[in-house]
């Protein structure tokens, strides 16, 4: 890498060094020097190779410095740089700064620009699958990284990967590796149900079976119950259908004995089903036992649900 750029002519700016100053950071010399020059270059809007080089150095020192990302993007555009190389470089930075989120917005900017500046026939056409390895490694390391999942959502939407085999296989694997990974379930919901027009009726049936099998495997998992009730709401189906399924996890006759209760979420859903069946008394009993026995931390909430029934 070139290190022979000369910055002697640049007027460096102060980076919060004035004294007295609250929360004064004792910057190391390298940081103070690099950022001082870079922000100096930014002030005179210099879009040059040496400025580009310096943004890289600066981001190595502090990847969460959003100003540098904004500046770097402008430099790339002005110098008409190869944006695919930029994506490769970005991956390194992402891997070294797992918690950083500026980079994922930056990556969206770069890809959006690639799409705007290349056409269908171009050799440099962007293939969204090139993103899969980096996303996979990031999510293997932190399976609930919110920013990475959000970026994945953006990618799927942008390139219509809803029915992509690799995408669907990936989310299946994430779920089977950890049924309690709610980020994976959220992404699945997005893949299956977010396209307003094109959701076939059979998806409801297959997803219902899919999630019910996993509820049976781990009945006290909130992620799967949320998914199940989520699809009922999405399709406007009556939850009364789920009565028998819920009764697999709770024996109403012996509800006082924890040996006969496998899921508090089944009790909650039964309480809602009973309301639909105009069995308010039965519903109130279930809310009572949630509050007193199976979910006491939320006793105020169960009381509130009860109160709604009494006042109506």
């Amino acid at each position: 890498m070139a290190t022979d750029y000369n910055f002697d002519d640049v007027e460096t700016v102060k980076i919060n060094e004035e004294t007295p100053q609250l929360c004064q950071i004792l910057y190391d010399d390298e940081y103070k020097h690099t950022i001082g020059i870079l922000l100096g270059l930014l002030q005179i809007r210099e879009y040059s190779e040496r400025a580009l080089y310096l943004t890289e150095k600066a981001l190595e020192l502090l990847a969460s410095h959003y100003t540098i990302w904004i500046y770097r993007y402008d430099i790339l555009v002005h110098l008409n740089k190869d944006l695919f190389e930029e994506l490769d470089w970005c991956e390194q930075v992402a891997l070294e700064n797992e918690k950083n989120y500026q980079i994922w917005n930056y990556r969206q900017l770069i890809i959006t620009r690639i799409l705007a500046t290349t056409d269908e026939s171009s050799k440099k056409k962007f293939d969204p699958h090139r993103e899969f390895p980096i996303l996979q490694s990031m999510l293997e390391s932190d399976p609930k990284n919110h920013h990475v999942w959000s970026y994945r959502m953006w990618l799927v939407k942008k390139f219509n990967l809803f029915k992509d085999d690799r995408e669907n296989e990936f989310v299946n694997k994430c779920i089977s590796a950890d049924l309690w990974n709610n980020s994976a379930w959220s992404h699945r919901f997005f893949l299956k149900f977010s396209q307003e027009k094109d959701i076939p009726e059979e998806t409801f049936a297959t997803e219902k079976v899919y999630v019910q099998d996993y509820i049976i495997e781990s009945p006290q998992n909130p992620s799967t119950w949320n998914y199940l009730t989520g699809i009922y709401k999405k399709y406007n189906k009556s939850i009364v259908d789920l009565e028998d399924f819920c009764l697999k996890f709770v024996d109403i006759e012996k509800i006082d004995d924890p040996n006969y209760v496998k899921s508090s979420f089944a009790i909650e859903l039964l309480a809602k089903i009973f309301v639909k069946q105009q069995k308010n008394e039965a519903s109130i009993q279930l809310y009572d036992i949630l509050g007193s026995k199976y979910d006491p931390i939320r006793s105020n909430y169960w009381d509130y649900e009860k109160k709604k029934l009494i006042s109506h």
């Binding site: 929360c23 922000l39 490694s137 999942w149 089977s176 990974n181 909130p222």
Partner: protein
């Protein structure tokens, strides 16, 4: 399947990550540790250990004691294991800290020390967060001190924020001097200036901020953080909250915003930052607080195109855990004291909508804050085993304040009817007064509290938010007449 080149890249990348720490799970379930006889035994053993510990630390005088679930689910995974470990750490903390005390002097010392002493070089990680540091620390101080901020400290806060203001506000407020304006830095900077009651400076920049905000507005109704920046419920809240404080909200500014927010509510009931991602505590706070800035009548929550209040209530109350007492930010994630505010503030807002005084357990959250998050040396931490920091100290104190107060919404229609009969008109605020400024509070314990009451839409003392808006309302009235 992935091609060879992809596989090479993947293994190279995993190698890079592996240098730093072990991968938490393999996507291929074959590689994952299967629950065999040993872990089955371990599971029973820890459960026994846990119950034993819970019994030993229980104090009959307390309104909250950790409770283990009576329902057993023996499924084992990475999520279950980290949750299990965290519960044990937290029970350990409850055992070590049996008393409920609030160490105000240590916290005040921690805050002063943090403001005034020089921070070691690794604090450069906060170099794009200077206004945030001012807000977190000044606000923490305001919440627990009987004295106002010292005038020299106030002056230095003003100096620092002034150096971050870009072109008198036309470019917003930046994360540090000579950086680019950012809507979240602007939010933090403005709250810091509200803490120092520097209305003169606020007045000077507010017309320019309005122009800057209009330049960040997107056709879908949301706002960007900065030029070419992300737009989500967070950036949107940052804009709306400042606009209401400075009385620069206009119809044009908020056109389409409520409709856009509604698309961010997920199937779980909480809100995501953008449509179709996972419901999350921070983004949900920003969304609900935004509604309190956009709506001026309670009945607007029952409009057909508003969000699903019941769904949000359910998601919000599910964030509290029975052993920890504290709050988590997402389904199946761990508790973290910062959610004492991001999730904690949802409760009083939802309580004010539903006319229910207690939707969650204030006692349980109070125990988590005082016994697990509080450090005896001053400051608050995420959870036992982590270190205190400015961010957690501020949001934990905000959360603690929520445990000490109840909020209701004044019934505007009723009030207007009454005033009409009495021949009065509301003069103190404009007719589109946002609900954020129609909140009323009372203390849980009658007349005592350890912290000042906050405005849950802002996370600053209630009176400070009110004073700032009133100042600009009056000023704009005078200018108009």
């Amino acid at each position: 399947m992935a091609n060879k080149k992809d596989e090479e890249r993947l293994s190279y990348m995993l190698g890079l990550l592996g240098r730093k720490r072990e991968s938490q799970f393999r996507v291929d379930p074959k590689d994952q540790e299967q629950p065999g006889d040993d872990s089955e035994y371990e599971d029973i053993y820890t459960n026994h250990q846990k119950r034993d510990m819970i019994q030993r630390i229980a104090n009959p005088e307390y309104a909250f004691n950790p409770v283990a679930s009576l329902i057993e689910d023996h499924y084992v995974s990475a999520t279950r294991n980290t949750q299990e470990d965290t519960e044990m750490d937290i029970l350990e903390a409850y055992k070590e800290n049996p008393k409920l005390h609030f160490d105000r002097d240590s916290h005040l010392n921690y805050i002063k020390r943090s403001l005034e002493s020089k921070l070691p070089h690794y604090y450069k990680s906060l170099d794009a967060n200077h206004p945030w540091m001012m807000y977190w620390l000044a606000n923490s101080y305001s919440l627990i001190s009987d004295e106002p901020l010292f005038s020299d400290i106030k002056e230095l806060i003003n100096d620092k924020i002034t150096r971050c203001i870009v072109r008198d506000g036309l470019g917003g407020i930046a994360g540090g001097s000579n950086q680019i304006g950012h809507a979240a830095s602007t939010y933090a900077g403005i709250l810091a200036l509200v803490s120092t009651e520097n209305y003169e400076l606020l007045d000077k920049i507010r017309p320019n901020l309005y122009k800057w905000y209009m330049s960040l507005k997107l056709p879908n109704g949301s706002f960007r953080m900065h030029v070419n920046g992300e737009s989500d419920t967070r950036s949107t809240y940052c804009v709306l909250s400042v606009a209401a404080l400075l009385n620069i909200t206009s119809e044009e500014l908020v056109e389409g915003t409520a409709e856009w927010l509604q698309t961010c509510q997920t199937y779980e009931g909480g809100f995501a930052g953008v449509p179709n991602t996972e419901a999350h505590g921070g983004y949900t706070y920003c969304a609900l607080a935004s509604y309190f800035l956009l709506y001026s009548h309670k009945k607007e929550f029952s409009k057909e195109n508003s969000f699903d209040v019941d769904g949000l209530v359910r998601w919000a109350v599910m964030r509290q855990y029975g052993i920890e007492g504290g709050l988590s930010g997402r389904t199946n994630k761990l508790v973290d004291a910062c959610y004492s505010f991001w999730i904690g503030a949802l409760y009083p807002l939802l309580e004010s909508i539903t006319d229910q005084s207690d939707l969650f357990s204030r006692e349980a959250l109070g125990h988590y804050i005082l016994r697990c998050s509080q450090s005896q040396k001053g400051g608050f931490r995420d959870k036992p085993g982590t270190s205190v920091d400015f961010y957690h100290t501020n949001y934990t104190l905000c959360g603690f304040s929520i445990c000490e107060s109840y909020f209701t919404l004044e019934d505007k229609e009723e009030k207007e009817d009454k005033e009409e009969k009495e021949g009065k008109e509301e003069k103190e605020d404009n007719p589109q007064k946002p609900l954020a400024f129609a909140l009323k509070y009372k203390l849980v314990k009658g007349d005592i509290s350890l912290t000042k009451v906050i405005n849950p839409v802002y996370g600053i003392p209630f009176e400070l938010a009110q004073a700032c808006r009133s100042y600009f309302i009056t000023k704009d009235h005078e200018n108009a007449s």
